[in-house]
């Protein structure tokens, strides 16, 4: 299955970089830590034989979304290389909300019974489109994404007019 030593190392990395993502004062490094977190998560997918999911996660999130985040940070140049200033005013409220979310997620995870997948095909490319169209959720999802795209363009048009 999965090498326990590697599992330990990657769990540790995941933990450290997750903390860094939210705690690092330099926005640039915080987003790079996010990239490392996504990368390590993909490692777990791949180690559990969900290779397609793992590679796609890296391709889309590390290769796309985080580069976009970096781009935006660089565009607002005052944040590059300078630490972020943040007060402690909202720490209590934020901590409370985070704790509530944590308890909720823990409850969900503990109360869910995870079924073990017995057999899955290793050559799924041929069936992928059929499988996607067979479930009821894909078409609404795609329509929704189209709507979001239209909203995005609308936003740009309105912003450009001024």
């Amino acid at each position: 299955m999965i090498n326990p030593v590697l599992y330990g190392i990657f769990t540790f990395l995941l933990f450290v970089f997750s903390i860094l993502t939210i705690a690092h004062r330099d926005l640039m490094k915080a987003s790079l830590s996010l990239a490392v977190v996504l990368f390590v998560t993909a490692f777990f997918y791949i180690a559990f034989k969900f290779e397609f999911l793992g590679w796609t996660q890296i391709l889309l999130y590390v290769g796309g979304i985080v580069v976009l985040i970096l781009f935006v940070i660089m565009l607002a140049r005052e944040y590059v290389g300078k630490p972020l200033e943040s007060g402690f005013r909202r720490t209590w409220l934020g901590g409370l909300v985070s704790a509530l979310i944590f308890i909720f997620l823990l409850w969900v995870i503990l109360s869910t019974e995870f079924p073990e997948i017995q057999n899955f095909s290793t050559e799924p490319v041929k069936d992928l489109p059929n499988l996607l169209l067979a479930t009821h959720y894909v078409l609404p999802f795609e329509v929704l994404s189209l709507l979001l795209l239209a909203a995005l363009f609308g936003g740009i048009v309105i912003a450009r007019r001024e």
Binding site: M28, E51, W55, I58, V62, L70, F71, M74, L75
Partner: protein
Amino acid sequence: MIPFLTVFIKSVILILVLTLIVAYMVYLERKFLGWVQNRYGPNRAGPFGIFQSIADAVKLILKEEVFPEKRDRILYFIAPVITAVSAFIPFSLIPIGSKPVIADINTSLLFVLVIAGFSTYGIVLGGVSSGSKYPLFGGLRSAAQFLSFEIPFLLSITAVILQAETFSLKKIIESQHIPYIFPQFAGFLVFFLAGLADTGRIPFDLPEAESELVGGYNTEYSGIKFAWFFLGEYAHLILISSLIVVLYLGGGNAYFIPLPSFLVFLIKIAFVIFIFYWIRTSLPRVRFDQLMKFSWKFLIPLSFLNLIVVSIFKVVL
């Protein structure tokens, strides 16, 4: 222990061979540029200047390194390494000839794309960590360029995956009874142009435009660190050419000509690289807004069209 040792030795040989190829690619490029522009090109070191690249490499290694004071220590050091390493690793899976050099996995195409995509990180981080404004602009341009060309790049590959029904580079080559350049010419065009932008070469070399940004993202790099960037960039060029050969030109398939498949593969790569050089000598650099327009208004619609046509054919046939 033995498989580990063989993989290690193979990797070392692969890296050395690639470095040598890069050295002579640069020499041939300069000779070709000289020929086109009616001058000699390198002609001092050795007969016809064939030792020029070696001399350049020695110079870069021995040169004193100058560091910018406002650099970010870790990122500044790590950026050129990311660029070079991310260009070298994918070669372990590229099927030169009939089978991949080091490893063969089912999802090799995805792996190659994922690792090759990291070269942008090297360039962006190099720009940001230098702590000076021209590299920052270089990194900024690189990120924007990568984001807008990655979409048509991946969409054209999706069409190939759809037709070949596999993610394995080896099987994609085996499935090409006729090279995919013929049924998917639009896809080939998109992939070629997006690949040109991905390698950051003229006419899409905005991230390191010398006349605008001094040297772009590598302005503050010197000596061996600059050599890493340089090496990574040219290795990336070979990588994109070999992907073009694998995905669209039938890999090591010679079809009617009886030649060993690795030789056919190398000849095809050399031809694609030659076209890259040819474009470099012929075209001026595009403006940044032209670059963006070109990607969003031409390449992306074209790649969507290609994908739709390929899927319709796939369903009908």
